[in-house]
């Protein structure tokens, strides 16, 4: 039982009191940002990143991961009680969750959301634990051409899975790559596109851009649309779902967990898409599809389980290949690098305590979150009653501090403001931020792999299709681009 031995290593790490405390803080912070609309896990993780500098790598990642999956738990609370998603992966939970609350069943809806999150989160971690080691072994065969093709597939996939136009998503990915080229070129040592700005020599910071696109831009959007926020004020009682609820949702739970996990693995997949797909699938499988949207429990159980198992799935490409698949794992990669560790196929051998510590922390984190979200639900409801005027100023302050504190630089605040405006304007024009962030983060790796491949292939692009693994990845990418023109878009299928 190799897995068992490894798990013991992991639990030894997480049961260290300091790590346990950090895991708890991460989960608590994650639930909080999940509950708060307009402030998602990405911005929160970026904000707390500088405060992890004096921690060990494993402690830092444990806390940051806690924020990630914690946010998936918290997001449902806002969806159910206010009909506003606490964060984007809980958009679909609004559909049936809020209707349940209006029928006086807010309690069971919140309870089911928490249980679904717990069950799916645990299934996801088990999947991660079983699937990651063989994948990492397989990834050991990868050279620069395979890595390049894989990253190219990742960018294609992110653009393919986007909810708007694929061309626009590709434009954003190209823009992100161009941004990542700004700064000193590692191979030749030449300063690229920096002109007279000394600040640009080190490149444009990822954190200020993240804070701008995912934090400040959101505030601008909300300023333009006055949203009616009505918190469900009635007393919430009876959080435990009934026997009937369980029977109705058991398949939704299971399907949601599996869909979430596998979509989470795909680059660009992640929790948002997983929740949408799960809802669509439940509607398709249901004997009474017309009831969806009127407040039925399957409509909560499916998407809530999907978005949680997706977070576990999203760790797979990061931990086994060292390549992030979405904005959150891109940020985690940044955290790994800052702490001087490189996730990838060798991490399991070289730093087993790090790898298995993270996995064990997810088991523990899911239990912590169940406690935080069932008995303590009242606290989160109270936070929702804080007026938005106060929340929005606080969120802006968090963004400012987050952007500033990484390098103690006013320049980074300026970058954040610029990308806040840009992100807002682009979102209105139908351009999504996620492909840009992903390509910005992997840009350097992408270019290095590209240049090394060309050197290996003696100046021929054919190297990408001469090597079998790389060829398969290239073919999938081309196939996706080709079919994109004929596909149905996601939002239409859930309508």
């Amino acid at each position: 039982m190799e897995v068992l031995q490894h798990l013991i290593i992991g639990f030894r790490v997480i049961l260290d009191p300091m790590n346990l405390l950090l895991c708890f803080l991460g989960c608590l912070g994650g639930t909080l940002v999940g509950v708060l609309p307009g402030f998602g896990p990405v911005a929160a993780m970026a904000l707390l990143l500088p405060s992890t500098f004096h921690l060990s790598p494993v402690s830092a990642i444990i806390m940051l991961s806690g924020i990630y999956y914690g946010a998936m738990y918290g997001g449902s609370t806002t969806s159910i009680l206010v009909n506003i998603p606490g964060e984007t992966a809980s958009v679909v939970t609004c559909l049936d969750g809020y209707q349940m609350a209006r029928k006086g069943r807010a309690g069971p809806a919140l309870g089911m959301a928490a249980f679904a999150s717990f069950i799916a989160g645990t299934i996801g971690v088990i999947g991660l634990m079983l699937l990651a080691p063989p994948l990492a072994r397989f990834a050991l065969q990868f050279g620069p051409p395979e890595y390049f093709s894989l990253m190219f597939l990742g960018l294609t996939m992110v653009s393919y899975l986007t909810q708007g136009s694929m061309i626009k998503a590709f434009i954003m990915a190209a823009l992100g790559l161009l941004l990542s080229f700004i700064g000193t070129d590692v191979i030749s040592g030449v300063s690229r596109f920096t002109y007279d700005f000394i600040e640009l020599r080190e490149g444009v910071g990822i954190i200020p851009i993240l804070m701008g696109v995912f934090g400040v831009a959101e505030i601008f959007s909300n300023a333009e649309e006055e949203m009616g926020r009505k918190v469900f004020t009635a007393e919430i009682k009876g959080l435990l779902p009934t026997r009937k609820d369980w029977i109705q949702s058991k398949w939704a739970l299971l399907r949601g967990s599996l869909i979430g996990f596998f979509l989470g693995i795909l680059p660009g997949g992640g929790a948002v898409i997983a929740s949408f797909v799960s809802y669509a699938v439940e509607k398709r499988f249901s004997k009474h599809p017309q009831d969806f949207g009127t407040g039925i429990i399957e409509g909560v159980a499916g998407p809530e389980s999907a978005n949680n198992s997706a977070t576990a799935g999203a760790f797979i490409p990061l931990l086994t290949l060292g390549i992030p698949g979405n904005a959150v794992t891109a940020l985690l990669l940044g955290a790994f690098l800052i702490h001087g560790t490189q996730p990838g196929p060798l991490m399991m051998e070289r730093a087993p305590d790090l790898f298995w510590g993270i996995i064990a922390s997810m088991y523990v984190g899911n239990i912590i979150l169940l406690v935080l979200n069932l008995p303590l639900i009242g606290i989160w409801v109270r936070i929702l009653r804080v007026p938005y005027s106060i929340l929005s100023s606080l969120i802006l302050m968090f963004c400012i501090v987050g952007a500033y504190s990484l390098n103690n630089s006013l320049w980074d605040i300026a970058i954040m403001i610029f990308f806040g405006v840009l992100g807002h304007v682009m979102k209105k024009a139908g351009f999504e931020g996620a492909p840009m962030i992903l390509s910005l983060v992997i840009g350097q790796m992408f270019e290095n792999a590209f240049r090394q491949s060309l050197l290996l292939g003696d100046g021929s692009f054919l190297i990408f299709i001469k090597r079998p693994i790389s060829a398969v990845l290239v073919i999938i990418s081309v196939f996706l681009i080709f079919t994109a023109t004929f596909r149905k878009r996601l939002p239409q299928t859930i309508q």
Partner: protein, 152 residues
């Protein structure tokens, strides 16, 4: 959407072209020995091409009744504009006024001018933010926040 596409397409084309030109001057190198400008040139060209796909159809279909939506929408940009103003002020004032005072003024401005709250709530929120953020981030998380001439 057409108006949006026309503008975003045009800007994308300009940015793509600019990167292509700048990449050429960096040195493209050769295919078996790619230089620092090689991949930026390709990506810039891709951006130019993709933006053109957005731009030209929008240009052809263009001229929809956009004037009325723009006229109606002017009022709602006011709030966003004020928030932007506050952010720019924050960035400029931070090194002179120090973290706490700038934060106080910033939050007070947002509460009073942008959100038009009562004075009591404005002052209390601004004061709590200034003190709270200082303690959490400077004293507890030990971040290095700029201080004003008066030491906070």
């Amino acid at each position: 959407m057409n108006q949006h596409d026309k503008w975003s397409g045009a800007i994308g084309m300009v940015v793509g072209l600019a990167f292509c030109i700048a990449s050429v001057s960096l040195g493209l190198g050769e295919v078996h020995q790619p230089g620092p400008g090689f991949l930026p040139f390709l990506v810039g060209a891709a951006l130019l091409f993709l933006s053109a796909i957005i731009f030209f159809p929008a240009l052809r279909k263009g001229k929809m009744t956009n004037e009325e939506t723009i006229a109606r929408g002017m009022g709602k940009y006011q709030k966003g504009g004020l928030i932007l103003l506050a952010l720019v002020f924050y960035n400029l004032a931070l090194s002179f006024l120090g973290f706490s005072l700038t934060t106080f003024l910033f939050v007070a401005f947002l509460m009073k001018i942008v959100e038009t709250q009562r004075w009591t709530r404005t002052i209390v929120t601004a004061l709590c933010s200034a003190v709270g953020f200082y303690f959490v981030f400077r004293s507890w998380l030990m971040l290095d926040l700029p201080t004003g001439p008066w030491g906070f």
